[in-house]
């Protein structure tokens, strides 16, 4: 069975989100299995989250700036 290829952009976004969430959970489970302990996993996960948050914020800011720029240009 193959997944339908011709789907709306919103459905494609939902599909990739589901795929990424499942993959993320698998990566998490794998990390917990191979780590020396849950403390190490928690410690590095916290560091990653701290690093990822500014990345999200920067992306959001540049996204907003681009949108504003586009709006000004279209006037």
């Amino acid at each position: 069975m193959r997944l339908p290829r011709n789907i709306s952009p919103a459905a494609a976004e939902r599909r990739s989100l589901l795929f990424d969430v499942v993959l993320g959970l698998l990566v998490g489970i794998f990390a917990i299995i191979i780590a020396a302990g849950i403390g190490v996993v928690g410690f590095f996960a916290l560091l990653c989250i701290i690093a990822v948050i500014p990345w999200y914020l920067l992306d959001r800011r540049s996204h907003r700036r681009r949108r504003r720029h586009r709006r000004v240009n279209s006037r």
Binding site: R5, S16, V21, G28, I38, G39, A45, C48
Partner: protein, 381 residues
């Protein structure tokens, strides 16, 4: 319509975020009970302890070492003009080493390392407010290192003929399973005879050393390791363990920690050898350290001070008169020596004012194991 995927970079970030949030959630399930269940510790210290005991010991140790290297004290500096006051009255031991009563041994005052000596430096003082001519516990302070004239060591002398030593398990150390763990504090029924309490050694998980509790092996004993031994008769000793894995019939408790720092009156020649002195903070890092020694008359001596190396701690104990000694726990969070001015655990006070843990520490349940010094039955206060 053709399938349009978000950029790979954003998807990788999304996968990473989900993985991290999942791991954090699982870790939180273990961390939360650990920090909310710690009665005597702040959230920071209990979090570090949780990380240490859940595979993060190398991480914590590395961060600790970086921290201590960044905060390493400088040599020299202004000289002190006074020492912290310990005890209540001078014991009057002088330099002879014999007390005033017939057949009573009291230690000679400690000859300070730095001259001229400060008022009261090295002079033994009674810890109890109403003790007689044979105080069970004496306290003193002296500057511990001529290169660092601001550092002050606190030393206690415990009369073995009048006291007995008990090993008290904490709520979390030694870890489960442990038979007859007790309440993790000085039992109220024993407080009438309570003279002092002080910290134990490293946690079993990081010490690679053994423990015998109530005559049973909790952790396999290791030959060659310094051991505080309490005998069924009430006697005690500090030995280099050579009895192998078996429990000698006369041993009630035995707590091991690292190789001896002083043996037969001599400093361990390997005091400057890093890996031998624990897998957390190395031997040359200047931190709060504590140690327990025994003098030539079989009396115990406890010493603690900030900014000590293993070697400087051993020298403090040797100067105070110890002929054999073991290093106990280190770091400001774990070093405590508390004396009680009155029977019943009343008016507790820390050996040094810089010891930040509450003097009430062992009168309420504590995470870590510790030692309690009681007057022998029938001994007057």
């Amino acid at each position: 319509m053709a399938l349009k995927r978000p950029p790979l970079r954003r998807r990788a970030r999304r996968v990473l975020t989900v993985a991290c949030l999942f791991c954090l959630a699982i870790a939180a399930l273990s961390w939360l009970p650990a920090v909310t269940g710690s009665r005597n510790l702040g959230i920071g210290v209990s979090s570090v302890e949780w990380l240490r005991s859940h595979g993060g010991n190398p991480i914590v140790s590395q961060i600790e070492n970086w921290y201590y290297q960044l905060n390493e004290p400088e040599k020299g500096g202004p000289a002190l003009t006074s020492l912290p006051q310990v005890g209540v009255t001078t014991a009057g031991t002088g330099s002879g080493g014999e007390g005033s009563g017939a057949g009573t041994y009291l230690p000679a005052d400690v000859n300070p390392l730095i001259h001229p000596k400060l008022p009261g430096e090295g002079v033994w003082k009674k810890a109890g407010a109403a003790v007689g001519e044979r105080p069970p516990l004496l306290l003193t302070t002296f500057r511990s290192d001529p290169e660092y004239p601001q550092f002050v060591a606190g030393v206690a002398w415990i009369d073995a003929s009048r006291t007995e030593l008990a090993y008290v398990p904490g709520l979390a150390e030694p870890p489960e399973p442990l038979e007859a763990r007790g309440p993790g504090e000085v039992p109220p029924s024993m407080r009438k005879r309570l003279v002092a309490t002080f910290n134990g050694g490293f946690p079993l998980e990081t010490s690679n050393a053994g423990l015998i509790y109530r005559g049973k092996v909790k952790e396999t004993m290791v030959n060659g390791i310094a051991t505080v031994v309490g005998y069924r008769s009430g006697g005690l000793n500090i030995v280099r363990w050579e009895s192998g894995r078996k429990v000698p019939a006369n041993v009630w408790f035995a707590k091991q920690n690292l190789p001896p720092i002083i043996y037969e009156g001599k400093l361990n020649p390997n005091l400057s050898d890093g890996p031998e002195w624990g897998e957390t903070v190395n031997n040359a890092t200047r931190v709060w350290r504590s140690g327990l020694g025994i003098d030539a008359h079989g009396n115990l001596m406890y010493a603690a001070a900030n900014y000590q190396t293993v070697e400087s701690l051993a020298k403090v104990l040797q100067r105070a008169g110890a002929v054999r000694a073991i290093e106990l726990d280190i770091n400001e969070d774990w070093t405590s020596f508390i004396s009680y001015r009155h029977p019943g655990g009343l008016e507790p006070s820390n050996l040094l004012p810089e010891m930040y843990r509450s003097p009430e520490r062992y009168l309420s349940p504590d995470e870590r194991d510790f030692f309690a010094v009681y007057l022998r039955k029938g001994q007057p206060w």
